[in-house]
Symmetry: C2
Subunit: 353 residues, 2 copies
DNA sequence: ATGAAAGCGCTAACAA
DNA sequence: TTGTTAGCGCTTTCAT
């Protein structure tokens, strides 16, 4: 029966607790209050047409017997779960380092919470996870899903499409065109901050590109190119696989080797920029006098560097909130905007360039 | 017993069904395969006593009708969810900055995943969250719970106790003594690294203490004191409320003001140490020549500083894994060790001292 | 080895 | 306004 051995399991060596009895059900409440199940259900769900005497009796009975609704039963009959899954598909190391992901989660949680939905975070960190998360999603555990950093040809995306689960992507993989998404205009943002860097009078401007296999990475490079036009020099671009500090260090070293005269750098993320700044300082370059450097994200990294980083503000929390709102609207039967939702990304100018 | 019996039985799809296709159920599979519901259920759950012909027919039928088990129904009858909740109760800002929390999540997820359990992350970020998470936990959504950074007098802890949900705490608030927990020996670890610092010949050793209202913070200070014995000087201890970079900067400035001769510092966390290093460098002190500094956590901070930080390795991922193992063992009816589980915390000696 | 049927706890449609 | 009852989809005896 329900959880009996669990209770015995952790009541400790000197157990003073009685064995946990069966959980009170709606029937216990009904009997205690002298009414029928139906009436109890009405009170629980706040419906009209309940006499105040009945309501009072039922409320008293509920606290007397310690009744807690069983959501599995409710979900079964209601065909919903009042929960939205947030699937994070990232390599383990990045998860801990990427500040965006935390902010997205927080933003989504706040928005879902306000609508009385439970956010359920699912981490995909292995093949096994992929399969289990797919099962979870197809098991009616969640009414909708927010996908963060989905990959191209993601099996989970396939499952979502197949079962028709309301979904919103944060950023969108190229092979997902039919589904709702929220994001930022990486290309325009990259162009804007590069132009700003150009305007400071730098003449040899390079870029540390990252994650070119994702649209965010590719678009940031494209925006950089847009801004430079004819002055774009492929030799001044160094690409690294991930948005991480360590890559920034090595990439900057490489760039310095290839072009010692470099006087401006656009790093594809703040973490990368922080690494690059380390390398620049080790090479004896002062910032921003010798080299101006700008980043992307406006994460906590940007405030830790010295001088602080000029960067593109990425509204991570807003993205989470917008994604949640999008899923919620789909749950209410609305159709999300076809082109997705793009949030503003103001340039934040600090001391590094 | 209410004595009301009613005939249950499959009434079939009603002829008035709109074109909307309903999800395939076990009954559709049974009909397709020409067997009974019971047999289908046996195949799904991999039980013995099923003929291979029946099994083949059922498997074919499952994929033909696109059957996916409905977990709400299964949970209802099985009285379990095959999911474990991980409750994180942190101020929003810390969540994004604290690398431990991510590692704990990853470790727990890996362990639960291996046991085929789903980890469900619940963030508590407001009053409303507290209430909803409590409801979630009491709603049979999760078979057990891992509590991270619970506070003293946490309402969620109350709920867990009340409903007797198998639980394990990562670290333990003082008012939780009956429940399982995993953690590290902060006091012994702090003592060990301070002794190591003393052994390098430093004579004026100070500490930047943090979070003294939590056991981790208080224990680290106690360990520092243990190591110094008679040489402990309260004037060389500066306390800050949180484990954060910015606090490290200001605390170090204060310490330098009070004792310019200071030549050794134990910071209560790597983030604090990183801040302190910034302040030391601004004050013209070289590390480790003028001042030796050590931290605590062995987080990503420790590798970002220059020189890299000597610190106490906190096995965050291991803590997550151990917590998961503890919950899982309770789920199997075992009693967790009374004193909790303490993980090793080796001192990692790098260049900062 | 398989089928029949009794519920798990709840909501909602229908009667009264 | 309230009671009665038919399921939601599934597992699990109990027969056979």
């Amino acid at each position: 029966m329900l959880g009996v051995k669990h209770t015995l399991g952790y009541s400790g060596p000197v157990s003073t607790d009685p064995p946990r009895q069966k959980r009170a059900t709606i029937i216990d409440v009904a009997r205690e209050a002298g009414v029928s199940r139906g009436t109890v259900s009405r009170v629980i769900n706040g419906e009209r047409y309940v006499s105040s005497e009945a309501e009072a009796a039922i409320k008293a009975a509920i606290s007397k017997v310690g009744y807690r609704p069983n959501v599995a039963a409710r979900n079964l009959v209601m065909q919903r779960s009042q929960a939205v899954a947030l699937v994070v598909h990232e390599p383990a190391s990045l998860f801990a380092e990427d500040p965006n992901i935390g902010a997205i989660m927080l933003g989504a949680n706040a928005a879902l919470s306000a609508a009385d939905y439970q956010m359920v975070l699912l981490i995909v960190d292995s093949e096994r996870d992929t399969e289990r998360v797919s099962r979870y999603l197809s098991g009616s555990y969640a009414d909708g899903v927010i996908m963060v950093s989905a990959r191209t040809h993601d099996p989970i995306t396939r499952v979502i499409e197949k079962i028709g689960l309301p979904a919103t992507f944060v950023g969108h993989p190229p092979d997902v065109t039919q589904m709702a998404f929220v994001g930022i205009d990486n290309r325009a943002s990259a162009r804007a901050i590069t132009e700003r860097l150009v305007a400071t009078g730098r003449s040899r401007i390079g870029m540390i590109a990252a994650a070119l296999d994702r649209d965010s990475g590719a678009d940031r490079l494209a925006g950089f190119r847009d801004a430079l036009g004819d002055r774009f020099d492929a030799n001044l671009v160094e690409a690294v696989p991930l948005y991480e500090f360590a890559s920034g260090v090595t990439a900057m070293q490489e760039l310095l080797r290839r072009e010692p005269q470099i006087d401006g750098v656009f790093a594809a993320s703040d973490a990368v920029a922080a690494g690059a700044m380390n390398a620049l300082r080790s090479a004896g370059r002062s910032i921003p006098q010798d080299v101006g450097i700008v980043g992307f994200d406006d994460s906590t990294w940007a405030l830790r560097t010295k001088p602080q980083l000029s960067t593109v503000h990425q509204p991570a929390q807003g993205l989470g909130a917008a994604a949640a709102a999008s899923v919620l609207s789909q749950l209410h039967g609305e159709t999300p905007p076809a082109g997705g939702v793009l949030l503003d990304t103001p340039v934040v100018w600090r001391g590094s360039a």
